[in-house]
Symmetry: C2
Subunit: 229 residues, 2 copies
Amino acid sequence: METRCENCIVRKFNSLRAMNKEELKQVSDAKVSKKFKKGEALFEEGEKLNGVYCVRDGVSKLSKLSANGKDQIVKLATTGEVMGQRAVIVEEPTNLSAVAVNDVEVCFVPKEIILDSMHKNPDFTLEVLRHMAHDLKEADDVIVNMSQKTVKQRVAEAFLYLKNNYGVDEEGFLNLTLSREDIANVVGTATESCIRIISEFKKKGYLKTSGKRIIITNEKELQDLVKGF
Amino acid sequence: METRCENCIVRKFNSLRAMNKEELKQVSDAKVSKKFKKGEALFEEGEKLNGVYCVRDGVSKLSKLSANGKDQIVKLATTGEVMGQRAVIVEEPTNLSAVAVNDVEVCFVPKEIILDSMHKNPDFTLEVLRHMAHDLKEADDVIVNMSQKTVKQRVAEAFLYLKNNYGVDEEGFLNLTLSREDIANVVGTATESCIRIISEFKKKGYLKTSGKRIIITNEKELQDLVKGF
DNA sequence: AACAAAACCTGACAAATATCATGTTTCCTT
DNA sequence: AAGGAAACATGATATTTGTCAGGTTTTGTT
């Protein structure tokens, strides 16, 4: 397995691609590889992060606990993404928890290296800024969806999102399998409501399930539903 | 009125404070002052922005149109804040519209100057990054509020927000007066529901109104409500 | 001051969603 | 393979919220 950041493909997808050779060498020398099993927490809301987590493999859910005790999943972080950036930049405790959705492998990069590069290399800083600008736009979109779309629309959208971002296997099953509870927490609804809607989608022939694995059988109808038809 | 950016107090509150003398001179020479009356649009969703808007005075609402034709207000931008940054950085059309809530005065700064400084001055870029990181955290909080709190809680929270951020006048009236419709669009609910909740708050003695001006008469109860008591 | 337009308000009702209770299936551990 | 825990599922019901329809008040303009 590749252990030098300079040669890591994952890096191509995140802001580390704007680093120069020396910087990458520093990162490579300081980074620590960590593995987490499905369900384990990488870090918890309120924790001080001593670095960022560059995802090599697997998916993590970034969530925030609400006053009523429910987790709201704000984002799913995948191979190539960097977690914990925000907290490191503003030097505050993180506002989100990260939990492995499946087995996850990350490279932990100490914050000093990141902050140092930011002061010295404007291209890197700008690249981080672009990524954050992108995240902010996505967050705006989520806000609008949450407040203006029905739960049914949001569930439909979640499945389309899973298909578009993680794809399907040979049989057509979604590559990323989330529990009903996780889907409910993405969508911001009660688990029972989420299950009920999935049942309805099955009855209408939009979805098929086998255990917890899911096939989208009528993508068009789901899209129309999201659009409000 | 002060027209040189170097001496502008407003700047102290935004990322322009990280600019050096020369950069500020450039900004100052290139900037154009613009005024907008209450209700006028500074820019519209989908528009290409040729620069950023530094708010000198007044408040604007940043909103996004949803599929069902309702505006969702994502943020209120006040004196000292910079609008349009995100779109300029990623060089995409803006995802938000900006409309003046009261009479607004801004300085328009051409994007070339901003982008140029970002490439040359890492301190400035980092400062912009910090502001964006802050906005992103706030957006995360809004997402959680939207999905996990009731409309009543969100309305209560909106009033507390207005008090904390814009203060009250000598008589105790909130300095920033929003229409019921605007409040509904901040909170993500129907205007009628918003009005009903305000009426309820008045009956319970949490609020008093005079025309569209509002006094919070029982802040504690509103806070408890938000916390879920 | 008169008028129109916009904003505000309320009631009645319908729809969406949460909650509680309970049963079934799946999955993991031994 | 058995047992138990967790996840999934569904019904009954209560609550929340949206919608429509009709008012009243406020505001701005002539």
